[in-house]
């Protein structure tokens, strides 16, 4: 989609009550929602009459942008657009930001009457549960040393669904069990937040404390003043993000903004089920640390045990469940056997993890730099993609191709542009790659084939050193 609609500001910020009437589709916006104070984006603007355009006013139709080439075919234009779309997905900020890698997150799911709505198929409730299971799996895939708990909001109270733990199977079991039940009653934001606060109270200071709320309703029936709760959340440095299923709600917006030190990018309202899934799975990426005091860094002692695979008929009891098992991991300090990792050694209390768990998070910390598009004049130095050997198109003899560059200059900003010569170059090693390898290197493997494949030029200068030196 185009990014033109992300600046939509709800004009009726003064009558927030009207939001609760119904879920009008027109009130949804794709990007981060501006709060009641969101008008500050045009605060200094003297002519307030120039209203921002709403999302639906700026629709870009794919057939409007297609330009026929000289022989009347649109293959080139279609190909270009497809490449642009591909690249748009991967161009992101690659500054190595400090992220809260060790996370403590409470997932709050709305189980109120509002979830019975059928605007998402089959119902909001069932779809949310399905996505929540996906979220749990992906969360532990991305954050293996993090902890997760699940809380529900039903009948005006907060409901403990799954205790805070690092075991995905337990969470998924509890979520599956919810499917049998019906959503009913009112949700209570305050109760849920208070329960999350209590659950996160013991989270160690070096990890993050986060609450993620999936909120279907447009109201909240609270026993007390929610502003007090928000103030408490701030002092306990708990960060709240909300995914709204219906429309923007003023209190949600305020809650997210205040607990994220003024950053309002954490309140989103979904457009459709695909967007819902995208927003939810985006939360599996570790959050950026914003202020110094949010993270008190510390050095953790951890054990990296080796696995033992008892092939013979011998079985032994594991220390964690006292069950007879064949294989397992031996604690590197006291040799007690545990059956799965990550775990805390039941005998000596050492945190036991696999080094592969840590390594899974490294690409968040040391992202691969975006590759640049190579214009025709520089394209002649390569004939084929460095990594997959696919031949590149030959440079044109005549300059008839030079109609493209005018669209290129502006593209460097946000949405990805496709390279006119089909080549994308790494700025560190100077090698050229095709678009498929560009996508693959940035989204899947997180290595540059060129930099890794030849260390003669930059001996002992590895990716991470370059990245860390810059920060």
């Amino acid at each position: 989609m185009s990014s033109s609609d992300e600046d939509y500001v709800a004009d009726d910020s003064d009558d927030a009550g009207s939001h609760q009437v119904s879920s009008r589709h027109g009130t949804r916006s794709q990007g981060p929602v501006k709060g009641p104070a969101g008008t500050s984006t045009r605060g200094g603007d003297p002519n307030a009459g120039t209203r921002k355009r709403a999302a639906w006013e700026d629709i870009q139709r794919s057939w409007d942008t297609v330009v026929e080439s000289a022989d009347g075919s649109i293959t080139a234009a279609v190909e270009k657009e497809r490449n642009e779309k591909k690249r748009g997905r991967l161009l992101r900020d690659t500054t190595p930001l400090q992220r809260g890698i060790i996370r403590h997150l409470i997932l709050v799911i709305d189980l109120s009457f509002a979830m019975q709505e059928k605007d998402l198929r089959p119902t909001r409730y069932l779809l949310t549960l399905r996505f929540a299971v996906e979220f749990v799996t992906e969360f532990f895939e991305q954050n293996p040393i993090s902890q997760l708990g699940i809380i529900g909001m039903r009948d005006g109270i907060a409901l403990r669904i799954s205790d805070i733990s690092g075991n995905p199977t337990e969470h998924i079991e509890h979520l599956r069990a919810l499917r049998e039940q019906e959503p009913k009653g009112n949700p209570s934001l305050q109760n849920a937040l208070e329960m999350s606060r209590a659950a996160l109270y013991h989270a160690p200071s070096h990890g993050t404390r986060e609450v993620l709320i999936i909120y279907g309703a447009l109201l909240s029936s609270d026993p007390g003043d929610i502003h007090d709760t928000i103030a408490n959340l701030i002092t306990e440095r708990i960060r709240v993000s909300i995914i709204g299923l219906a429309a923007q709600v003023a209190i949600c917006s305020e809650l997210c903004k205040r607990t994220n030190s003024g950053d309002d990018g954490n309140y989103n309202v979904i457009l459709d089920d695909v967007h819902f899934r995208e927003l939810l799975l985006a939360k599996t990426t570790p959050p950026i640390t914003q202020t110094k005091q949010q993270s008190q860094s510390s050095l953790l002692m951890m054990g990296f045990p080796s696995r033992v695979l008892d092939a013979g008929p011998i079985m032994s009891l594991c220390a964690c469940h006292s069950k007879l098992t064949r294989g397992g991991y031996l604690c590197s300090r006291c040799d007690a056997k545990v059956c799965s990792l990550p775990a805390e050694c039941p005998a000596c209390g050492l945190t036991l993890i696999l080094s592969t768990h840590l390594a899974r998070s490294y690409h968040h910390l040391f992202p691969l730099k975006n590759w640049i598009e190579i214009p025709w004049p520089l394209a002649s130095q390569s004939k084929s993609c460095f990594s997959c050997q696919t031949p590149f198109p030959k440079p044109p003899r005549t300059s008839s191709h030079l109609q493209v560059p005018d669209g290129k200059g502006k593209g460097r900003e946000g949405v990805g542009t496709s390279s006119e010569s089909g080549r994308y170059g790494c700025e560190v090693c100077g090698r050229h790659f095709c678009i498929d390898c560009d996508l693959f290197a940035h989204e899947v493997v997180h290595n540059c084939p060129g930099c890794q494949g030849d260390s003669r030029g930059n001996v002992q200068v590895r990716d991470r050193d370059v990245e860390m030196g810059g920060s």
Binding site: M301, A311, Q452
Partner: protein, 354 residues
Amino acid sequence: MDRVDGTEHYKGDVSQGPIPALLLIILDTNPHAWALLNRDLPLSEAIANLLVFINAHLAFHNANQVAVVASHCHRAVWLYPRPGSSSEGVDMAGGETPAINDANKYRPFAQIEDQLLTSLRDLIQTTTPDDVASTNTTQMAGALTLALAHINKATLAFSQQIGGTETTADHLGSSDDTSGLQSRILVLSVSGDLAHQYIPIMNTTFAAQRMRVPIDILKLAGDTVFLQQASDTTRGIYLQLRSPQGFLQYLMMAFLPDQTSRKLLVAPTQEVVDFRAACFCHRKVVDVGFVCSICLSIFCSVPEGAVCLTCSTHLSLGEYGSKPAVVPRKKKKRRKLNGGDDTPSRPGTPVPNK
């Protein structure tokens, strides 16, 4: 999509019957390690055996593919297909090498043999003594990255040939179906220490796991913890070559079956997988380490001044190394008793040396 011509009728041909497999071989050509191995298994003999194995793989299925990457001392190089050979394919068949026109050899076999040997010779000739002298490791991470990029491209091309509707994102999401190209990586590893490539190798391991590409390791010499972890994570086979004379037999018996047949076979497994990590400060492999909570760097001992070497954050030590507070009484006697088990991280603590 792009197919507007009437080539529909090929579709049925490819999609039924056994699925073709792509075998990607990474040959570790580290000169140091091969020199050590020369008495038991010279490189030439290993290549000859490898070619027999490649031919066997190609003979399994008409559409089976193979690709070979060399992981040399300073760079990773394509051996087959040769870089640039696809564009000048005409001149390859031009008959400069008599081997290709040998009537007694199946043509694809001869082609691979010829290209592989030519590029290997090129590689060895372009290696200067300086290159060899300056390092004793190999660019395994680069070779794995190249291999995975090739697999990605081949899978895309294959799925386009069959269905033609998948895009990159779809094929990543739905790669669990069995209709796609079955790819696997076989690493013939001779080098030992790879600790300085820890992060890139781990990145490739997770990428392979996500793409469901098993990484098989045949270890001819040395021992590498990370390759062990890679094969374990991706459910590949890890084998240590015990008798170099049986090299070909190892290849044929253990590594020839593809993923589909492996489900029906009892594959060799690793008894003990070493999951220890390398510390970032000395590249030592550690059992118990210290992890920075910001950047997850692993240290073998508490870094000096408790400042992380990677992200230069000041780290609080938490509970580690704290001792119960003792009421100071007779100072001299106490010190002597406690001095021995103090942490090595605090060099400033004065210990009377008597």
